[in-house]
Structure formats: structure tokens, C-alpha cells
Symmetry: D2
């Protein structure tokens, strides 16, 4: 099935393996008239590049994007935008010994079960490099959203046991530390914790939080295509994500209705606001005009150098130690991926929402 | 957009409002040859019926299902199965005073923003009655899954602060208590807690856990159509769900790679097993042959009789108290809804997975 | 697969067999705010009702539609509109002798091959009654299109060898003759021809032409989702259709480029027009602002009372004569079906086209 | 909208403009285990290459395909196959004078209406080069179909007024003449006719016929997803196609039921056959086991050097003569495109059909 395509009106199709010729994405349904350059996209790709600190893998990847189609004289034409990033830094030999073994926590075994064999070099399609296509497409979506007054901002909320303190929340410092935390002190503690993991040849997980600001009320469709449901799918489709929550999330399960309900009030400009935001910006799955807030839980990077027990393709029990250049934590590099998946989801649903009311459709066609 | 349709090969389309003529579902793509009667479906619908205990709403709803099409001489024909449940117990006048006000925690405001007006009787399309179509369709999916050796079992894991104790886990008692908990003691504590909420005119949330047993390895598609991502969407599309997690979920964010990885081993029959199941049955988004385990967090029922502040359509600030026959908790009735959403998702992905390998496609067509 | 669902933003799902409990449709994605009553839909259903003349089947069918959901206080709410027409005039015994035989020209054999068995009463799902759901949905689409200034008009162009003469073209007479021809003389000749067929126990085919007026330029998507391609699929999905052509159609294959190209010119109001319309209103698959014109070829009704050779389920060669109340021609009743399929297709693509330009999306969201 | 994606389980997404950096396609859902090389695809691309005779454009295009992903050690892995063909022979200056004018018969005007501006070099996305992605993907589909015993063969049936004579039908000569006709004499006449067109600076249309052999009965879904309807859409999505017919097509509209019905009979091996094939291989939209036969009508190439009247972007009336290297007829090069669109459609529906019966699904999962 078309597992590599996401979206209805704005549709993205990603392709590529970690050690093949490259990775890329085709964006279809991008509205015409958006000024777009490779730099717009490269800025986002650079945010997920490894090698920025000692906490992310020291592999050197160029990840230079090339626009192959869909842009003419600097603007999008409305036709498919094809983007490619050539792979340049593969060392396939690193992986030769893993060809016949199933690394615990990786998709080796499940791909073999599904397809009968697999591209065993660097994780193949299940590699983190698959997210390059998502980020490249998300950069385009985010640029469009900015034109519509909507911003999407993700950051690291927790690294293992270390969480940010909202009293110290400062987005401006997020890009200044290697863990992408908007809290200087928490970032320092997180880095110390990661050093410990690294020394032990181990890895750890974390939590990313994302805030979408400026979203009008009314986005998301009833029933199966709720904004929250689509965000859940988009975020849980990122490799290492094991949990998703919106607003108070799991904490809402242990709260009272009288606490969890957000009271409405009349704003000074006459519009309707909410005094609190336990809902996280959605009611009935549809945006309520407040900031949309969600979180994603990431499991630890499965590639650890401590010895692990597993089996090989022949069913023999073996011991392995995954060597190579791996992140001790995936979270900091995944921040931009979460942001991009959210941007793609929200933009698609905004476009879809344009046809919800007959009077607005009539206005649209009578004005063109 | 088609927000009320779910699925690719097995597709369900639900319709209906709480106080309209009825609710229903069209199941398209159901394989031919399944013995199917109204009783098969009614058993599932009865599990979500209110009036079973003092913790769920005392409204009397018949919820009797009628098969309108797609079944001939007791078996499914492969063509659309249309199911209808007539509404019989609506008291629209209960809601007349709420017509122009926005109940906190409900979808009143967002529907008005999206559509310009709304069916204000009983929540309209955003009512819990919308799940009748999901359950009716899920009953059919579950029956097919049973024929394929796959069982889906959900239960209440937590009611407010009361969680089950896995040492006392006993599925056989789940249907014997009003909160659908597989733990006698926890059920009693939960019921006491609910009595307190009820007395205060308040409501509470909870957590549902779901286990899928018998699923072969290899189900789910790479990238955007992962099994976990599709489950996340299906579950988060249920009205009151605010969080989803699979396997260790949010706890995985604070664990080490060496702990979180599940070691593979050789089973006695020569097949591959996992010594632990932190993954919750998916690796790389594809089933790994272990039990699939996920949880959903439900917020408290927003309809509480304690006074709340809100605004009306004219933007005036008002106070309301939501009277009427409402559940103090939605979780027990939602257990079967979670089960059904999981069944629909898994069956669709199983059917899709049949085309993953060329050799199996060849075998299929050479044998017919 | 979901073979019974059509459309992206405006989606319709039909269900039902000719001799089951009823037939119906769920319309999802209908914009909110359309005044809609059962009468609006019944008018369209009456146009496909049998029993209007001696050339169509004398079965009495009520075909009274009931709106089950999606309309509140006389207007669409934006949520699914469920429509049902109960079957009232089935005589299943008529078909008992055909249970095990494959009628030539019918879908009996292919349904058995596909599903292993079939509902043999009255054609089951492959019956012409399946089109009731299409027409009910199309009536809603046509009403919306009318609000947008777009009209869809189909009529019988040919009955067997008898074609209309465009010099005598008069739409006002179309509903006054039993063959729905907009030409009094041709209608008389066609009726005479049908009488001959009827006497011989035979049937005949015909051609329906459809004109869509008022469509703005720019509707339809490049590549696979061209307006022409979607119309072709929608029209060829009607049971007896064997051919589709747009503009000059097959005649274009034997014309010169210099003839077939339509010269553009400047209209008095400064806009751009075409001096001819060989294109039939699409260029590159996208509407060009001219009338959209297409035709569909219908095969003869396969139910004929002359004796035919065939086989039964056991593979034995037998002779049959299809008795019962059948139309000697399907074309007059199919006129409204073609119209409705066109309306559904065009409206969906109009809604989709609203997101083609970034400046228009910005205007839309800045005005709400 | 995602106008550039086709298919459900086997999905293809094409991208690229005639004078951009290249054109390509992403094939998603291709079953794992197919041996695949660039040569397999190049053979198909070479069949649509220009420069093979004096009747097709003398532009030199390399059209060398590169596999970027989805193939590992010579076999498909089940993940997306990304294919690219770099553009090498563009002369953008040829088109500069056409930048602001609307060529009759081309999509210049409709693209401007839809998107506000367009890539005016060489037709941009509406260029015939867009079909390279279709052919590259179709080559893969055809290779899979061959493994399943299904062959798809298209050929030129008519060039302007010259049609093949079925008494002289000889597929082996099709590739030996520049018009791809399976009839030596007709090919000679067609070539003479084309010479005349060419001398006058004019162009002509034609008809392509396609036969699909070996298709099992039961392929295609009821109602909207009929095999015939999907073929109609796929074929009518090719740029210059103005008509589609299956089996007797438009001729069926002027035939009697007694003639048009195909009698079933018992074959020597006990299976069921049809004595004639007026249906063209589908009954009720589902394959009946006979050869599937359809035809597509192509309009004349709109680029003619005779002078034509048109307008420019400013709405001024002008005269133009389209110079440059253009085919006087598109049909011979489109033969492989038709074949490929049919292959993609049929393979997708074959894969979908695997889930039609519960017993077969059970067999499938019990055997893995």
C-alpha cells in the first residue's frame, strides 16, 4: 500500500534508504505562488543534521537539497515539487556483520517478516534518514503557514528523567544548546545525563512538546478526521515515537470534569476565549482558537554498544553489540521532524476546512 | 471532507446525530462469505448501551440494529453492509436551553465556528451516539479477525486515580462490574470514587488498555501507515481521548536503550520470540508477533452539574449547569469502542499486507 | 476495497441491493448551510422512476426518499447526510429460476467468480436500483452547483439508430416524451423503433449527451485527476456504459490539428473566449470556461426474452429466456443518472480547486 | 490536490516539467522480491522516445532512467521505488515568444486560469514528457503482470482516416513501422497520410487499441471502482485523449440486446467461456475471463505551424504559428503510454481483489 504518502489536498510522498543513492520527497498540491528556494528548505534540514554536538552522531552528512521540479522563476507553480538529497556519507561495510542478525529494538525482524528480506545497510527504509523527506516537505508547509499567520514550534521537553521547568521557559535558548531545550538549566542537566549514558554505551529517550499558534477555530473534521487524530497519526508515524498526548493528555484521565473543562469568556475585542487550555486547543477534535499543544514520547535509540541477546536469520541465538556512529538520543534531532509533521497536518486540514460552509464557497467563486 | 470514512480496503462510513432519526454505518469492502446476523452485532452494541449500572446514564436506549444490505442468506456478499440503529429515546426539550450557549469541554463552540451553526440537540454529530456506527462495524471486523485467529480485548485500566493491579488481573470479572475493570478490588475502589464524583455533580476520566493477540508479524506499512500510527489515529478519533501510547509509551521516554530493547530468542518450535515486550508488539511500526498493547487516556465527561462560566452565541458571559442524564464517566462504555476501532484498523492493515510479497501474490493467483 | 465510495472532499457512499430492504447513500463533506428537503431529492428520483411510459418497466416503485441525518431545521449541517429508499415492489420469486444460471450480458458470472456466490434476486448489487443512491446524492450536488451558477443538463442523443437533429434541438420537449429526447421528431422515431424491439422481445442501446454550463475556467487537476478523466470514470461506472467521449471525442481522431484547435478571441467584456468548442470545454484536462460537453454510450439492456444460450453454476449448457418486467432500453431512465454523476464530479473538483493559489487561500483566511 | 498520484495499493506519483531539471516517478506499494534493473525500465522508455522515424519529433532525448531507491541487490524491497530521468535536450529559447500567448489546443490558458501563472517552457507540466513517469512505473507493473500470466498489448488502430484491417493483423510488424500499426499495408497508407499532413504544417489524430490477455475473472470492484471505470480514468488522464470505449463501445449503442449479449458455453476443460466478446472482457465492470479490449481516441497534436488566431495574457488578439520540433501525430509514441496506464490499473485492482473472499484470506494467513 501507499505507506509513504501522507495528506489529502497537500500530499507528500517520501522515498529513499539510508545507504541508497539518496532520499527525497514529492510534494503534490502545494498552492501556486509561494516564493520558494532551496535555502528555505535547507534551513530546516540543517536543524536535523547530525554532527552539531557531542550528543548527536558525528557522521558528516551534507544533506544538501536540490529542487527538481514545481518551482518556476522562484515561485511554486502548483504542480509537484520534487526534492532530493543525495546520500554522501554511507559506510556500508559498517553494517555487513549485521546483515543476518536482528538488532533488538530495530525493525530488522519485522521487515524480514513482512517482505521476506531487507536492505540491511543502515536500517534501509526504517532509518532515521527517512525523515529528511518529511522535513523538506514540512519546511514548505511551514512557510505557507507563516503566510497564513500560523506558527509551529517544537522543543525538547524532557531528556530521560530531566524535564524543563516552565518558570525558566525561554525559547530563545533552545537553539543554543545541543538538546534543544528552552531552559538553560535543564539543558545542562540533560547534557550531564547524556554523558553518563554515553559512557555506559547506553542510550535514552525523551519527550518533545509542540505548540501551534495562530490557528483559527474550526480546523479539523468530525469523526475520523479530527485534528487531534490526524496529529496523533502524523506524530506516531515518526520511527521512535511510543506515545502522543494533546492538552492535559494522560493527566486528564485523573482529573475532574469541573477542573478539566475550560471556561469560555468574552475577550475585550468581543471574541470568545478560554480561561484555561486543558483541552490543548481542540474540542470535539476541532481547533478552538487557543494554542494547540501536544507532546510525543520517544523511546531510547535502540543502537547501544552494550551487549544484547538476539537471534539471526537462521534462528540461532547470538550476542551482538551495535557499534558505529549512533546518537545516544534521537530527541534533539527529532524536534524539527515533529514540527514538520505538525505543519503538514495542520496545513492540509486548513485547506480542507475551506469547503465547510456553502456561503464561503459562494463568496470564493463569486470573487474570482 | 470525508471525515466520516475510515479505512482503505475495509472502509466504514458512519452517519447520524444523537437526536436525529437514527445513527448508522456502511461497511464497504467486507470479504464475502462471513456468516453474519444482527445478533452478532447486537452483542457488541449492548456492551456500549447505557443503563447497565448506576455509573452510566439511566437513559433507556434500545439501540437495536437492523441490517439493510450486504447479507444474503446469512452470509456477507462482499457488497456494502448498511446498518441502522433508530433513535428512540430522545428528549430534545432537555437541550433547548443550551441551544445558544457553549458548554465548556463540549464541541458546541468549535462546530459553530466551523459550520456557522449546529444541531444543538444532544450534541448532534459530536454526541457519544456517533460511536454506535463504529461499534456495529467493529463487531463485524472482530468476527472476521476471530476467524483469522486474532482477538482484540480492551478493559478499563484506570478510573480517575484508581488503577488495576496486574497481580489481581482477571479478565473474567471485567463484565461483572460496572466499570469493566479486570480486577475485583480495583473495581470496587473505582466505584466508590465514582460515587463521590456523582455526589459532587462532577465527573472523572480514566484509561483504557487494549491487547491484540494472535497478530502475525509483518502487519503495518512503513513510514506514514505504520500499525502504531493508524491505531493512534483510530483511537484518538474517539471523542474524549486525549492521549495514546503503545508498549511502554511515555515511560519509554525515561528508560535506557538497554532496558527498553526487547531481546529476541529462539522459541522451542524454532520461531523467533521476544523475552520482554516493551515495544508493545510493534518494531518500526510493523507488528513483531508479540501481543500488541496500547492505552488511551480519556478526559472526564464534560457534562457536569456544577456551575460553570461560559458565553453564548451572542458573546455574552453566562453561567450554566448541565443537567440531564449524563454518565459521570465515559470510560466503561468506551471499552468496546476502543476494541472496535482497534479491530477495524488491524483488519484493514492485515488485508493490505497480503500484497507485500510478489511470491505470495503469485501463489494466490496460481491457486484460484 | 471501498468500491462504493466516490469523491475526495464531497464523498458519497452508496449501498443496497434491488431486492434487499432498501438502497441508500451517505453524502459526506456536503457544505453546511444548504436548504435541503426530501422534495429536493425526490424530484430527481422521480426522473429515474420506472412506469412513466410503455418503454420503461411497468414495475411500480415508490422510491420515496427519507433523510435520516445531516439536516437540521431545514439546512445541511456539514455532517453526513444519510438517505434511504425502502424497497417495496420486489417479487423475488420471479428470479428463483435464475438463481443458478448465468444470464448473458449480466454480472451474474463475474460476481460468482469474484465472491464465490451472489445475491441472485434481481441482480443484487449490480441492479439498476443501485443508481438510486447516485441520483439522491447528485440531486444535492446539483442544488449546490445551482447556487454557484453551474447547471448540468443531460438528454438522450440517440436510441439505437435514431439520433437527434441539432437543428430541431429543444430542451423543453425532453421531459414530454418517454425517451427524454430534446427533439420531437426524433423522439417519435425512437419510440417507433423501441416498439419494434419490444415486439421481438429484444432491447437496444443508445447515447446520452450532457452539457455543463457556467463552469469557471481552472477546474480539474493536472495529470491523473483531470476533469475529463474523473468524468470518464464517473460515467463509465454506470452499469451499462461502454464508451465515453468529450468534445469531438472519437471524431477528433480523424480530424486535423488546424480544424480541431479552438481559436481564442477577446470577448466584448475583455475576457477570453473560444470561437469553437471542439475541446468540449477542457484543455489539458482543466476546464476552459466553455460549455463542457460529453457523451456516454449505453449497451442494450441484457434482459431480453428471446432465447439465449448460457451455462449454469454447475457448468452445464442451458437455454434461457429472461422474463420479468424489464426496460427494453435503459437510456431514458439513465439520463438523470449521468447528470448526477457529472454533478458530483464537478462539484468535488470545484471544491478541490479552491486551494490552487496561495493568494486566494490567504484571502480566504484573512476574511473569516 | 494530489492530482499526480494514481492507485490504491500500487500507487504512483509522477513529477517534473518538460524543461525543468528532470521528470520522475515514485512507485509505492510495489511487492517485494521482483528482480528489477534499469534496463527493464529503459526498454519501455525507449518505446516512447522521439527520433525513431520521420513521423515523430527529431529532438534527441536520452531519457536514461536512474533507480534511486527501493531496489536492493537487484530486487525490489517493498519500499518506494524512486525513478528519475534527467532532462538533457531542452532549448528554452524556442519557447520564449510563446510565454505570453495562449496556444490553441494547449493547456496554456487553463493553467494560467487555475494557478495565476505558468511554466511556459515547453508546456511545463502539461508537456508530453510528463508521461515518462507513467511509462517508467508501467514498466514495473508490466513486469509483475507477466509473472502473474497477464500481458498488456497496445497498438495503433487508426491514424486519421486510415485503420488497420483485422484480416491483416500481425503484431510482429508493429514495431517495424514508425506508426506502430500491426498491419503492413495500413502502416504504409498511414505514413503517406502523415506525409501530407506534415507538408501542410498540420497534424492529425488517431486511435489506440489495447488488449489485456490472461486476466482472471473477478477483477474490478462493484459500483464506482469498476475495472472499466478505472481504465477509463487512467486512459483519459493521458493528455490528448478525447474518448474511451471498451468492447463494442459506441457501436453497442446501436446494437440489439440479442446481438450484444455474449453467450456463455462450457469449454473442453469444464470452465466457462464466452462465444463472442462484445463485452470487451467486463460484465458489471468486473473481468469475465475473456480478453479485455479497449480503445482510446487521441486528438491531433495541437502544435501546428499553420497560422492560428489566439489571444495573449493581456487579452489582445494575435496570430501565431507554433514552430519547433513537434510530432505531427502523438499516437505512435502514446502506444506504450496506454499500455502502461492499463498495466498500472489492472495490477492495482488485481491486488485489491485478493481480499474479496473470506475463505481465501483465511487460506492466505494460515499458509504463512
Amino acid at each position: 500500500m501507499a505507506g509513504s504518502t501522507l495528506g489529502t489536498l497537500l500530499s507528500v510522498t517520501t522515498w529513499g534508504e539510508s545507504h541508497g543513492k539518496g532520499v527525497g520527497v514529492v510534494i503534490d498540491g502545494c498552492p501556486a505562488g509561494l516564493p520558494l528556494s532551496e535555502t528555505d528548505i535547507q534551513i530546516y534540514l540543517n536543524r536535523r543534521k547530525p554532527g552539531q554536538s557531542r550528543y548527536v552522531t558525528p557522521r558528516k552528512e551534507e544533506d544538501a537539497v536540490e529542487i527538481l521540479s514545481g518551482v518556476f522563476e522562484g515561485r511554486t507553480t502548483g504542480t509537484p515539487i520534487s526534492l532530493i538529497v543525495r546520500n554522501t556519507s554511507q559506510r556500508s561495510k559498517d553494517y555487513s556483520e549485521l546483515a543476518s542478525c536482528y538488532r533488538p529494538g530495530h525493525a530488522d525482524y519485522t521487515y524480514d517478516c513482512k517482505y521476506g528480506f531487507r536492505d540491511y545497510t543502515g536500517g534501509g527504509r526504517s532509518s532515521g534518514r527517512e525523515t529528511i523527506g518529511r522535513v523538506a516537505a514540512g519546511a514548505v508547509a511551514a512557510k505557507i503557514l507563516a503566510e497564513l499567520g500560523v506558527t509551529v514550534t517544537a522543543y525538547t521537553k524532557a531528556v530521560g528523567p530531566v524535564s524543563i521547568n516552565y518558570d525558566c521557559f525561554d525559547l530563545s535558548v533552545m537553539e543554543q544548546n545541543a538538546v534543544n531545550m528552552p531552559d538553560v538549566k535543564a539543558a545542562a542537566l540533560a547534557q550531564a545525563y547524556l554523558d553518563t549514558c554515553r559512557e555506559k554505551g547506553d542510550s535514552c529517550g525523551g519527550v518533545i512538546e509542540c505548540v501551534i499558534h495562530g490557528l483559527p477555530a474550526g480546523i479539523g473534521e468530525p469523526c475520523f478526521e479530527k485534528l487531534s487524530a490526524n496529529l496523533a497519526k502524523a506524530v506516531c508515524s515518526i520511527g521512535a515515537v511510543k506515545g502522543f498526548e494533546i492538552g492535559d493528555g494522560f493527566a486528564a484521565a485523573n482529573s475532574l470534569g469541573s477542573e478539566n473543562n475550560d471556561a469560555f469568556y468574552r475577550k475585550e475585542d468581543g471574541s470568545t476565549g478560554k480561561r484555561t487550555n486543558h483541552s490543548g486547543g481542540v474540542l470535539g477534535g476541532i481547533s478552538d482558537g487557543s494554542d494547540l499543544i501536544f507532546r510525543a514520547a520517544f523511546k531510547p535509540t535502540p543502537s547501544v554498544s552494550v551487549r544484547q541477546q538476539t537471534v539471526n536469520r537462521s534462528g540461532e541465538e547470538i550476542e551482538i553489540s551495535v557499534r558505529g556512529r549512533h546518537d545516544p538520543i534521537i530527541v534533539p534531532r527529532a524536534v524539527v521532524v515533529v514540527e514538520c509533521m505538525a505543519a503538514l497536518t495542520v496545513l492540509d486540514l486548513m485547506m480542507i476546512s475551506m469547503t465547510a460552509r456553502l456561503d464561503r464557497i459562494k463568496d470564493f467563486f463569486s470573487s474570482i
